[in-house]
Symmetry: C2
Subunit: 367 residues, 2 copies
């Protein structure tokens, strides 16, 4: 257990990076040393407004950043000297270029789900494999869709056992501010197996050859939606599954007829709630869509807010890798309380912290 | 086998009705006696342009139709006196109001998938149950999505046996001309089991308790897309399934990488092909999305052009109900040749015309 605050830097202040920075800054046991980027437009004003020390990732960009009125406190090297762990949220492919520098300064490294598993040879998602990451040096926090899948499937696997998973994903065209993305009036299928099934296997290897994922992308921007068929190894009632999810952190389940009948109403509700950026780091399950059949299959539809879902998992990864907290559930509770997304029960022993049941796919194995 | 042409009327000249009228008019063994509606705008100009006799469904609307320059040859009653079968394509709920009139003139009746199964206590889709409809008086041709599902699943069931079906549907917001529809930037889940699974069971009762469907609607207008997991009772190779679909009428399968990588490219290709209204009555399977796993599950994504998919099935229903053709495959061949959508093999004995295999779910039962 670390006694002083952990020192953390965020590289790449984009859609994920700016949220990770806020989440880290909110944690009582962490200190955001700064953020590093090469941008000099309004996006950086947010960091300035929040008094996050701003570092310049590439010296060539420093004059432009200063000219735009931003106080640059140093270069990436300078930030790396002061931190124990870096969370790299730069666009796909860039983290690999940064790795030699991270190694030079011997900082632990977290990259995002846009990178390949092979870059770090390890992938993280709290509900699936917190314990395999205690003390490790590098990892990748899986993407929004895989984070949601991990929460949903690991919970079922631990409680009921899971023998087969099929997920049909409907992805948004682009995040709301990504005006250069498409499609604008079409459905684009992923031509082959989507990466989500294999990605979940990097977290829960027990699912190897037991999961298949197909995906399409469409013209909306608010969230991803998953339609799943999960074959369970026992036969809970719907009420039991609803209760299980109700007490599970980072998962919400409620009838759509309460006024949350589509993703737009969900956004409106979270705007009214006062959630920052109307973020919804919780997976939201439409309760009416859940049903179980006589053959042990569970069906449901849930919403995945792609911009914010993996943020708490990034915070958890820090605690696991720096061995700041040896209990996954306590870590989740701490992260969520600071991020003001607390819901469900934090008193259980789910997520691999209990001995695995014989039939369960939930991992408690350390690598 | 009828010797003279069958006399047919179409009521409701909307998205389905105008296409059904064209399809009927193209058949060598059918005569389109006329179309009946209450509209008097540009939509009716198309009927006039094609020299389809125009009847007025409700006398109150006749003056407006005449004032707009349309020659009204009679009222609905007059048309009913001249026909053996009426294809009612009016909006949901209207056909039930027309039934007493159809009964009065003793005309056989086909309604569309927007009506409930209970209205006719019978539902039709060529590939599933052509033979159960020989000589019957009333039926409902199932909706676009269920028509596509019937073709896809019955083909697999007949050839390999099917023990379990899960379909995740992504529906378009509205047809292209339906500017009053939504969502415009959201995903709307169907809150519960979507009607498609139960609907398929009306055609293939053997699937009862073996199919589950979930559905979302999104903001695009071009087509529906299905992502399916079908558990087979035997273990074909992917090549074998591809070959099966290639020789099946009304199903196309091709790699997206040929340039058909999304629904917009599909539309563009069919526009260039010169298809009327760029209609695609064929189901289109993206070949790369198809795979089979070691547990007997087949996965794939396919496109469903909602405006045109059930049109050939309406034509087939006429031939079955009027006992004009006792062989389903010969009927399909005739329909498709006249509609210029001929593809695949029309020489087989699929679609319930062969004795069912022991393990097969394909129906050959007459009611």
């Amino acid at each position: 257990m670390a006694k002083s605050k952990a020192n953390i830097g965020v590289v790449g202040y984009g859609i994920i990076g700016k949220r990770v920075a806020d989440a880290i800054a909110s944690q009582p046991d962490m200190r955001l040393v700064g953020i590093a980027d090469i941008i000099s437009d309004v996006r950086l004003r947010i960091a300035k407004e929040r008094n996050y020390p701003i570092y310049c990732s590439l010296p060539d960009f420093e004059p432009k950043m200063r000219a735009a009125g931003f106080e640059v406190v140093g270069f990436l090297d300078d930030m790396l000297k002061e931190i124990e762990i870096v969370i790299d949220c730069t666009p796909s492919g860039v983290p690999a270029q940064n790795f030699p520098l991270y190694d030079k300064y011997n900082v632990k490294t977290i990259v995002q789900g846009g990178e390949k598993h092979s870059l770090t040879e390890r992938s993280f998602s709290t509900f699936g494999n917190y314990y395999t990451h205690l003390g490790v040096k590098k990892t990748r926090v899986v993407s929004c869709n895989t984070t949601a899948l991990t929460r949903i499937i690991s919970t079922l696997a631990h409680e009921y056992g899971v023998s087969d998973v099929f997920v049909a994903l409907a992805r948004r065209a682009g995040d709301p501010a990504r005006t250069n993305r498409g499609p604008i009036n079409a459905i684009t299928p992923v031509l082959g197996v989507s990466h989500h099934g294999p990605d979940l296997v990097t977290i829960m290897p027990q699912l190897d050859d037991r999961i298949h994922s197909l995906a399409i992308a469409g013209s909306w921007t608010l969230s991803h939606v998953h339609m799943v068929k999960v074959t369970l190894e026992s036969s809970p009632s719907k009420d039991e599954v609803v209760s299980l999810y109700k007490k599970t952190p980072r998962i919400l389940i409620e009838p759509g007829k309460h006024g949350l009948f589509d993703s737009a109403q969900l956004v409106e509700y979270f705007r009214d709630l006062g959630r920052p950026r109307y973020d919804r780091p919780e997976v939201f399950i439409w309760e009416e869509t859940m049903s179980l059949d006589s053959r042990g299959n569970l069906y449901m539809i849930y919403d995945v807010h792609m911009e914010s879902i993996p943020i708490p998992e990034n915070v958890d990864a820090v605690r696991s890798m720096l061995e700041m907290e040896s209990d996954a559930m306590k870590c989740v509770e701490m992260t969520d309380k600071a991020m003001k997304i607390q819901n469900g029960s934090y008193s259980g022993t789910l997520y691999g912290s209990a001995p695995p049941k014989e039939r369960s796919l939930a991992s408690t194995e350390h690598e």
